[in-house]
């Protein structure tokens, strides 16, 4: 309770401190000038991230900034005078201008860069977020661009974010069926996924090749594999902050594509030329009609997603956008069984719906950016016989928040406030017997302060604190964070540290990998999962075509909730608390040439949980049982090669993962409860699984080769056609998805699948 009052005091005083700090910062820089604005692509009005905006003068002054994800750049503490301005980015013609800035002036200058096939000689402003590159990782943060995603072979002409994520070391996927992502040892429900600041609860489709994020609606993705800053919270593993593209503000454009897995359509254009644009995108799976016939086996999966966005430049200094997304997934699990007199099959389904209104402002009077968001997210989950689901979960969240950055020369002061109200309602059909779930409402409120301080020319540190309070639960969390990046020419050293809590957790039964049913609820065992992350990394880019990075991480976990082990062969169980630790390292090597690209990543991970089930001390004589959970992939190798050959793009991807842990059994018998004299002539007993030590066995290694060949052709002045052919699982490796111990039925990942697709685009 004491921590609640302390947090409340912070909450009340925090904004006052921020206002004071901002006022002081503004006053301190009254003797200098500031320059800021938006950088966009002149061809379609898209914001350009990573553009270097540099001011120089004859006196040798050199000031600069890199544009952020919204294309915003800001240069503060500029001594008055005349400067040469130059804005450069790979693939665009440089923008040059001459500016004279007066004392105290706050100049807004929006820059539009024209696409051109030119190369930039050097990168002069280094930001923590890189614009591209699989090896460009800083303390767990990697920025992903659509062009990165497009390189990955997929059974579709259009790329999808999830295929790129699967290439990264430290990211373990559940497989081709039932998309789940484990990032650096964290579980799927511990990942925070945001699209345009709206929370997406279950963003990956039931078929592992697809997520709710096709590459052609993505502008950029910031993936924090850990060590994320104070802006983010409520999850203990990772953050995926996705920013969508704006629609084309100059002209209409669109695309349709067809492939054995999905059919897609995308349309965009100006609603008010140069001011307001729209973008709509939709995908519908055709797996049962297409891919299932190709592989000659049932693939009972169905999904679709729809995305829409309207973006408006309200003024030179402000923008407003409205984004909305809906996804739906349904998949059949297991064999048909008799239920209430009808032959039916279990199915799992979920539906995400979310929308967000984002208002982005560069205030007229002081150098800052502010983003205000109003968002709503919801998910509905169901599992059970198709005619009557036995388990269901409905969760929704309304969120209001503001993220502000004050540009004050060597300090960018980031701060934000948020208020969220959640409704959680789950019916678990007794799956977890020691918890009860009921409709509940949660409100959480908090703020963060996170100055980004440039110390000298090379070191940038980002200490922060996040205060997060759940008044209805009388729970508050004080979460310190820290990030640092040290640029030393071709070398870069980075580090991150932070404490994280997750009050609202996703419950699923990790014993059943084939079932992705997840129920969201407040921490049901009275304790809140907590994690502490440590990350340290090194990166070297000795030449423009070679970069190498090595990053180590260590996470401690406490008060997790995992399913108890029971020898009764049933799907109901209880939840038990567990602690854990994760350690590992990622190695990435990237080669970039004009017509050849290659990336090799290696991930080493060791995930360990200490389960505290009541019975453990009886079985093993220990208070806790240490084991490696089912997603502990010890070794992982990903190799990607992309070759531009005679106008064809040949893309080859090979992935290898060492075997995942599983629990072996000695066999089955019957259990008779002998609580005294028992007549064994009358008691048949209950069937029992005689399992060995939990997760002591290892499944066979996973490896697969995917190949795709793509050719783009112009079939008119503004019409393009892309043809793609490929092989998924080219050497038909029988990778195991799961083995049902009760039936000894083996379910493999997808076999060799020839894929082909075509995409028609106009602009």
């Amino acid at each position: 309770m004491r921590s609640f009052w302390i947090s409340l005091a912070f909450l009340v005083r925090g904004p006052a401190i921020l206002v004071l700090f901002a006022a002081l910062a503004t006053a301190a820089y009254g003797q200098t000038a500031s320059l800021r604005g938006f950088v966009t692509d002149a061809s379609d009005g898209q914001p350009l991230q990573g553009v270097n905006v540099v001011l120089t003068n004859d006196a040798g002054a050199f000031l600069g900034a890199a544009a952020d994800v919204d294309g915003i750049y800001s240069i503060s503490r500029i001594p008055p005078g005349t400067y040469a301005l130059r804005a450069t980015s790979i693939g665009y013609a440089a923008y040059a201008d001459t500016l004279t800035l007066a004392t105290g002036e706050l100049r807004s200058l929006n820059i539009a860069l024209r696409p051109a096939d030119v190369e930039v000689g050097e990168v002069v402003v280094e930001a923590e977020k890189e614009t591209a590159g699989a090896a460009a990782i800083s303390a767990g943060l990697q920025t992903i661009r659509p062009s990165d995603i497009e390189m990955i072979p997929a059974p579709d002409v259009s790329g999808d974010l999830v295929n790129y994520l699967g290439v990264l070391p430290g990211v373990v996927t559940a497989g081709d069926r039932g998309g789940q992502l484990f990032i650096r040892g964290g579980e799927p429900t511990q990942n925070l996924v945001l699209l345009d600041n709206m929370l997406i609860y279950q963003p990956f489709h039931i078929v592992g090749f697809y997520s709710a994020f096709p590459s052609d609606v993505i502008s950029s993705v910031d993936l924090y594999a850990g060590g994320f800053g104070g802006k983010y919270g409520g999850r203990i593993s990772s953050v995926m902050d996705i920013t969508s593209r704006h629609g084309n503000k100059r002209r209409f454009a669109g695309a349709v594509s067809a492939a054995p897995y999905v059919s897609t359509i995308k349309l965009e254009g100006p609603l008010w030329k140069n001011r307001v644009s729209f973008l709509v995108s939709g995908r519908k799976s055709v797996i049962e009609q297409g891919a299932a016939r190709l592989v000659d086996q049932p693939l009972p999966f169905d999904f679709d997603d729809e995305f829409a966005k309207i973006h408006a430049n309200i003024s030179r200094n402000s923008q407003l956008s409205f984004s909305a997304i809906r996804t739906f997934d349904r998949g059949t699990i297991g064999e048909p069984e008799l239920f209430e007199g009808r032959l039916t099959t279990d199915q799992v389904s979920w539906k995400n719906e979310a929308f967000a209104l984002n208002y982005l402002l560069l205030p007229a009077n002081f150098p800052a950016r502010a983003e205000i968001t109003i968002a709503k997210s919801s998910i509905e989950n169901a599992f059970g016989p198709a005619v009557k689901p036995l388990k269901s979960s409905t969760t929704s969240q309304y969120a209001v928040g503001a993220n502000v950055t004050h540009y004050a020369g060597f300090v960018d002061l980031n701060w934000g406030v948020f208020l969220r109200a959640s409704s959680l309602d789950s019916k678990l059909g007794g799956q977890f017997q020691n918890i009860t779930t009921e409709l509940e409402f949660n409100t959480d409120v908090g703020f963060y302060i996170e100055p980004e301080i440039q110390l000298g020319e090379k070191l940038r540190v980002q200490p922060g604190i996040r205060i997060h309070s759940f008044p209805s639960k009388s729970r508050s969390f004080v979460e310190p964070r820290f990030r640092a990046v040290w640029n030393l020419g071709v070398h870069r050293v980075s580090a991150a540290w932070g404490i994280y809590h997750q009050e609202i957790v996703g419950l699923n039964d990790q014993r059943d990998v084939g079932n992705v049913f997840t129920a969201w609820t407040s921490s049901p065992l009275g304790t809140v999962p907590e994690a502490m992350h440590f990350i340290g990394g090194y990166r070297i880019a000795p030449t423009p075509w070679l970069s190498f990075s090595l990053e180590g991480y260590y996470k401690t976990l406490s008060d997790l909730m995992i399913a108890e082990w029971t020898a009764f062969p049933r799907f109901t169980t209880s939840l038990q608390p567990a602690d854990g630790r994760i350690r590992g390292a990622d190695v990435r090597l990237e080669l970039v040439f004009k017509s050849f690209y290659s990336f090799i990543g290696y991930g080493l991970a060791d995930v360990q949980y200490d389960a505290r089930q009541r019975s453990i001390r009886h079985w093993y004589g220990e208070q806790a049982r240490t084991f490696h959970p089912s997603h502990d992939r010890r070794h992982q190798v990903n190799a990607l090669g992309v070759l531009d050959l005679f106008g064809f793009d040949l893309s080859v991807r090979w992935q290898f993962g060492s075997g995942l842990p599983y629990t072996q059994a000695l066999g089955f018998d019957e259990f008779i409860l002998l609580a005294g004299p028992t007549d064994v002539l009358k008691d048949p007993g209950r069937t029992r699984v005689l399992y060995g030590q939990p997760y002591k066995g290892r499944l066979p290694a996973y490896h697969r080769l995917d190949v795709s060949l793509e050719r783009e052709a112009s079939i008119g002045s503004n019409v393009g056609l892309t043809l793609q052919a490929g092989l998924i699982n080219a050497y038909d490796r029988a990778n195991l998805f799961y083995l049902d111990l009760f039936t000894l039925r083996r379910m493999n990942q997808l076999p060799l699948i020839p894929s082909f697709g075509l995409k028609l685009e106009f602009n």
């Binding site: 190799a639 070759l643 089955f668 259990f671 069937t687 005689l690 066979p700 080769l705 490796r733 195991l736």
Partner: protein
């Protein structure tokens, strides 16, 4: 760069090489633990039974086939070995199971070892249980308490068991009635009895409310017209190996393989149970005051002397020590 282009064919070659790697998975551990045994050897029975469950690789037991095993029990104190026979029992739920049995009278305090030797393996599955010994103490009946010489307002009697080295698993309290003139008995059990628990080291006290018992018996049996042939109490004592974690027979805990198991090279539990009883007969006056017909009343009515002999305050018939 041109050399790097060869990376793709190199990857392909590695991949094709790996394609031949082992992709089988065996969900089962190799083990010498072949059988699960469950059973309670009971001193109160002439024939003993133990369920034998071969550990199998499928969830369902399927068709039961004869077991190629030898099942032997041995009284380790007496050195007597006995071979048991197999039987296939069909349970009420339609499933079947092997239940081995043998005529065997247990001796209190003796240790019995059962062993299964498969015909095709040298690995012997064994379990061992020690039958609780006869208490070396005595049973003491406290005197009845009367408040009035002619009307019973309270009639309590404490039964104190001494020489008890463990908590009885169950205490049964019953009244024995002569059910027919030819001397057959009927025991009527009192559903709930107060248990004062251990009153002293190695002593156990149970206090009986005779009037309360009578009112219970009136609803259960209408005993006013049949003579009371005795009052009895039976202690059921378990083998000390009946020792569940935290003292609770929680199936969620006990189901876990190896928990409360005394089977070597296998799973399950084979325990033993002993039953000790004492009987007594209140005097005629007291029995009448309590509202019972006595044996003497029956004799007077029928002219036939009952052919029974009540042995008050004596341990009930036990197997030879």
């Amino acid at each position: 760069m041109h050399r790097l282009v060869f990376l793709i064919p190199a990857l392909l070659m590695i991949a094709v090489g790996l394609a031949a790697c082992d992709e089988d998975v065996n969900p089962f551990l190799e083990s010498d633990q072949n059988y699960t045994l469950f059973g309670t050897l009971d001193m109160g029975r002439d024939t003993q039974y133990v369920r034998v469950i071969p550990i199998r690789g499928t969830l369902g037991a399927g068709e039961i086939s004869p077991l190629d095993v030898t099942f032997i029990s041995e009284d380790l104190e007496a050195g007597e070995r006995q071979k048991w026979r197999d039987s296939v029992v069909t349970f009420a739920n339609g499933t079947q199971g092997h239940v081995f049995y043998a005529p065997l009278r247990l001796r209190p305090g003796h240790t019995y070892r059962v062993e299964i030797t498969p015909g095709n393996s040298d690995v012997i599955t064994t379990a061992q249980t020690t039958v609780p010994a006869v208490p070396d103490g005595d049973v003491r009946l406290e005197e009845l308490v009367f408040r009035d010489a002619f009307a019973l307002t309270a009639a309590n009697q404490a039964v104190v068991w001494t020489g008890i080295d463990r908590e009885p698993w169950r205490i049964d309290h019953y009244y024995r009635f002569m059910a027919s003139p030819n001397g057959s008995f009927q025991d009527v059990h009192i559903p709930k009895i107060p248990d004062n628990g251990p009153t002293a080291p190695a002593a156990w006290e149970v206090e009986i409310d005779l009037l309360e018992d009578k009112s219970i018996l009136d609803t259960l049996y209408s005993p006013g017209e049949v003579p009371l042939a005795g009052i009895g109490m039976e202690l059921t004592m378990l083998d000390l190996a009946f020792s569940p974690p935290e003292g609770r027979f929680d199936p969620e805990v006990l189901v876990q393989p190896g928990t409360m198991s005394n089977v070597e090279n296998g799973f399950g539990f084979v325990g033993s149970v002993a039953r000790f009883s004492v009987e007594w007969l209140p005097d005629r006056h007291t029995a009448r005051l309590l509202g019972y017909m006595t044996l003497e009343d029956l004799y007077r009515l029928t002219g036939r002397k009952p052919e029974v002999r009540i042995l008050p305050f004596e341990w009930s018939a036990l197997p030879d020590k």
